[in-house]
């Protein structure tokens, strides 16, 4: 009994149940819409694990959302909902792109410079939402959404400017090749490389994708976030504010300053995500968009599925990336709309929200056992 209830109390239990529920709901919806859910699921798994290329693409897809997820998770540790990660991502990508177009240095300088530009832009935009919260008490979800739309239109405006717009495309010029994080960008275009990829199908499969060094930078930043949160006095302060801002305030911690700083760091992570996407993925440019790409908003799902843990975001980011990518083959093979993946993820997040009920159920079970024991004792004593 105790073993079972303590297993139920583990945070990971709720997450796993939520993920299973997500799959279950998606299967039911697919079945209702007339698709064979088992067929669909196997198509999806095939689309995830079928070829090295697929997995490389999943890592490429996961890289930005691991970072935006970490951004959301970091802010959530302080009780803030960084729904504005999308806008911070857009600003990060834009700043990275403009830097990459205008500056051309050796890769060892170019890549860090572009990354820094993206991080700075994201950090500033994040700090703006933090400032609105700290100074005017504007809920960060509402300001975040507004700032997302402003960022989108601003990005479109810059993209359309003559200085940056690449004629006959819907986007800017690509950044200089020295800023690419894809492996051997110059070599890949040569005949020699084509021959090599033919001879080594496994490596070739991977090299033909956008597989890039971004994932290493992303993981490094996630580890850094986790280190800051749990090993530094700044992190202690921040978690104290997140858990009980009133007690933190009474202990002399400057809550407002913490809100701005946290949002700034969260913005930095989302900005880095934008920069990595520009450096790592074709066409290495910012495109005009009519609706959000969702790299920031998906970060919310990633963070919630990870239960707010930065390191957990690496795994939930990969899961989400896998679902997004595998979902495409769902459409090719089964013909079901890819939105089923978003429904699935939304459902997982919904059940993650419900998972606090599980410890309550555990409590109830222990309660029942304790009541029974008490009544039994009394009866035993009286008889």
């Amino acid at each position: 009994m105790n073993k079972f209830t303590s297993l139920l109390r583990k945070p990971i239990t709720g997450t796993i149940i939520a993920i299973l529920m997500g799959f279950l709901c998606a299967a039911v919806i697919l079945a209702c819409a007339g698709y064979n859910p088992i067929h669909a699921l196997s198509a999806m798994l095939q689309g995830i694990f079928g070829r090295p290329k697929y997995m490389a693409n999943i890592i490429v897809k996961a890289t930005p959302i691991i970072l935006t997820g970490c951004s959301v998770a970091f802010a959530y540790k302080m009780g803030l909902f960084n729904i504005g990660a999308e806008g911070q991502y857009i600003f990060g990508a834009l700043a990275a792109c403009l830097t990459g177009i205008t500056v051309n240095l050796s890769p060892w300088l170019e890549i860090p410079l572009i990354l820094l530009a993206g991080m700075a832009a994201g950090a500033l935009y994040g700090a703006l939402a933090g400032w609105l919260k700290a100074k005017f008490n504007i809920h960060e979800v509402i300001s975040g959404i507004m700032l997302n739309w402003i960022a989108m239109y601003f990005s479109n405006f810059i993209t359309g400017m003559e200085a940056f717009h690449k004629p006959n495309t819907s986007g800017t010029f690509p950044i200089n090749v020295s800023g690419f994080t894809t492996f051997f960008p110059n070599w890949k275009a040569t005949e020699e490389a084509a021959q090599f990829m033919k001879d080594n199908p496994f490596l070739g499969d991977i090299l033909r994708t956008d597989f890039n060094a971004g994932i290493i930078i992303a993981i490094a930043l996630v580890l850094l976030s986790s280190y800051i949160l749990y090993k530094t006095s700044k992190g202690y302060q921040l978690r104290a504010v997140g858990s009980n801002r009133y007690a933190a305030e009474f202990a002399g911690i400057d809550v407002k300053k913490n809100i701005i700083e946290t949002m700034m760091f969260a913005g930095l992570l989302a900005g880095a995500s934008g920069a990595l996407a520009i450096m790592g993925n074709n066409p290495h440019a910012v495109l005009e968009i009519a609706a959000f790409e969702g790299n920031g908003l998906n970060g919310l799902s990633v963070a919630f599925i990870a239960n707010g843990s930065p390191i957990g975001c690496i795994f939930s980011g990969l899961l989400f990336g896998g679902l997004l990518y595998g979902g495409q083959s769902l459409q090719y093979v089964v013909g079901a709309p890819t939105e089923i993946v978003n429904i699935m993820v939304g459902t997982i997040v919904f059940f993650v929200a419900l998972k606090d009920i599980i410890p309550v159920i555990a409590d109830k079970m222990e309660h029942r056992a304790a009541t029974k024991k008490l009544v039994d004792q009394k009866e035993g004593a009286s008889s």
């Binding site: 530094t232 006095s233 992190g235 978690r239 858990s243 009980n244 007690a247 002399g252 056992a369 009544v375």
Partner: protein, 512 residues
């Protein structure tokens, strides 16, 4: 109507069991209350008396046992059943909607309407006024709850129950927030109600009020039924022994103070509350080294704002706050702490603790960034653990070895010990304790009072702000009475009488 020769009991509760989590809080408790009597339920904080009454009122479901009202067995599914059976309850923390008027609060849930939907406030007011006159419960039906005094709010609660036709009225710790004079008025109201045939149940841990108002008294200790006695047959100390289970000394043992120079000084302080109303109106006092200064007063006379002003949670509009001659008003909370002031907030869970942190992490809430707990911005968990281990031993915080546990799992008394240990570890020149013993049992209260005295004897200054007059009278060396944002009178403890302080707390003067 009555056919039986033996009068039927208004309330009979038999073998009530209630378990919270896996901890039994009521274990086979019985209660019999005669119709038309005043019956007290006596027990320490946490003994289970409020839980028992919440079960009677249908707020909690019992895990065992039966309830009879006027001889009929009733299953109290929810408060609606209780209301329908003629039970009314006045909770310790009033259940009122602050932004509603008195009349709106009274009719809520049983509204007078036109056409079954539209509120008929004129009719409602007439009904309420009729009740007010019948029982002498003076209150304005059009006033907003947030604008009236605590005593008036209590009358609104009683009116709410009467409006619903309650014959059995449960009062949960009704005197905790009243002045001695208001308590006398309440006892009068209770007599009016009993004369009208109502049955009154009073939950309390105050012995003198039981002697003054109750006919019978049921004692509960740690969830166990102890006894039911006729109040006139027992003495206060008999009751106290039954409540605590061992002989208790009702007075705090303490030596005379030995005051020296002034450490802390508040002069002509003016401040506003969250609504922008001025609540501190020129408040002044001084505390010397080796002195406990107790502030007595009714809730809402500026105590909260005084603490917030000293700790720089709010800005003041005028006046000075000085510690060791240095002005600290209108700076930061951090400045208050580093200037040598430690404070224990009345709201332990909201202001004192980080519930999701371990006990050891809670110990360093104000020192986490200092050597040895962190060096160059990096936390040194080993140093924190060692420190916590030492404190847990020294302050006898239980369970032993709880340093790595989440603090939310500790009992209220042990949580408070953590807070006090943390605050004293800063070696403050002034320790402020606001309602430091609220909700704690007798053992923990003694312990905390002793700690305050120790601080005093070390030559520190202590400021005790309490709504419990007994506590101030027992612990403080000098008593200042706060009324309407000012210290209206200050006196040495040995010259203070409860009667005089009670009058001053209510805004009267000793000469009246």
């Amino acid at each position: 109507m009555e056919h039986n020769t033996k009068p039927v009991n208004a309330v009979e509760m038999n073998g009530i069991v209630k378990v919270f989590g896996n901890r039994p809080v009521l274990d086979q408790v019985n209660l019999e209350v005669e119709k038309g009597s005043v019956h007290a339920i006596l027990g320490e904080n946490g003994a289970g008396k409020s839980t028992l009454m919440n079960i009677l009122y249908g707020l909690y479901q019992p895990d065992g046992g039966t309830i009879k009202i006027n001889g009929q067995q009733v299953e109290m599914k929810n408060p609606s059943t209780a209301i329908a059976t003629g039970i009314g309850m006045v909770h310790q923390h009033f259940m009122l909607v602050d932004v509603f008027t008195v009349a709106e609060n009274i009719i809520l849930g049983q509204e007078t309407t036109k056409g079954g939907a539209f509120l008929d406030m004129d009719k409602a007011k007439q009904d309420v006024l009729a009740l007010i006159e019948k029982y002498g419960l003076d209150v304005d039906p059009d006033a907003k709850i947030e604008d009236i005094s605590v005593g008036m709010q209590q009358r609104v609660e009683i009116l709410k129950a009467l409006y619903r036709g309650a014959d059995i009225l449960i009062l949960d710790e009704p005197t905790a927030v009243l002045t001695p004079q208001e308590i006398d008025e309440l006892i009068n109201i209770i007599h009016n109600l009993v004369n009208d045939g109502k049955t009154i149940l009073i939950i309390t841990h105050k012995l003198d009020e039981i002697k003054k108002s109750a006919d019978k008294c049921t004692i509960i200790r740690r969830g166990q039924y102890i006894d039911t006695v006729s109040v006139k047959d027992v003495s206060q100390s008999d009751l106290a022994d039954m409540m605590v289970g061992h002989q208790v000394n009702l007075k705090v043992a303490k030596t005379l103070m030995n005051p020296k120079h002034v450490i802390f000084e508040v002069d002509d302080l003016h401040a506003r509350d969250v609504r922008g109303v001025e609540v501190l109106k020129g408040l002044s006092f001084k505390i010397r080294s080796g002195e406990i200064y107790g502030i007595a007063g009714i809730d809402g006379n500026g105590q909260k704002e005084l603490l917030e002003a000293i700790t720089n949670m709010i800005h003041v509009q005028g006046g000075t706050i000085k510690i060791n001659g240095k002005e600290i008003q209108n700076t930061t909370t951090w400045n208050t702490i580093t200037s040598g002031i430690a404070s224990i907030h009345e709201d332990r869970e909201k202001r004192g603790l980080i519930p999701d942190f371990s006990v050891e992490d809670n110990f360093v809430l104000e020192t986490y960034m200092k050597n040895p707990f962190s060096i160059k911005g990096l936390m040194k968990q080993k140093a924190i653990s060692d420190f916590a281990k030492k404190q847990v031993q020294e302050y006898d915080i239980r369970p032993n070895g709880c340093e790595k546990d989440l603090i939310r799992g500790l009992s209220g008394g042990n949580q408070q010990k953590v807070i006090i240990a943390r605050e004293i570890a800063n070696n403050p020149d002034l320790l402020i304790a606001m309602q430091p013993t609220r909700g704690l049992d007798v053992g923990a209260i003694e312990n905390i009072h002793k700690t305050l005295l120790d601080q005093r004897d070390k030559g520190k200054a202590v400021l005790l702000i309490s709504l419990e007059l007994d506590e101030v009278m027992n612990v403080a060396d000098t008593i200042g009475v706060i009324y309407d944002g000012k210290i209206v009178k200050e006196m040495p403890q040995d010259q203070a009488t409860e009667h005089e302080i009670g009058l001053l707390m209510a805004g009267g003067s000793a000469n009246e």
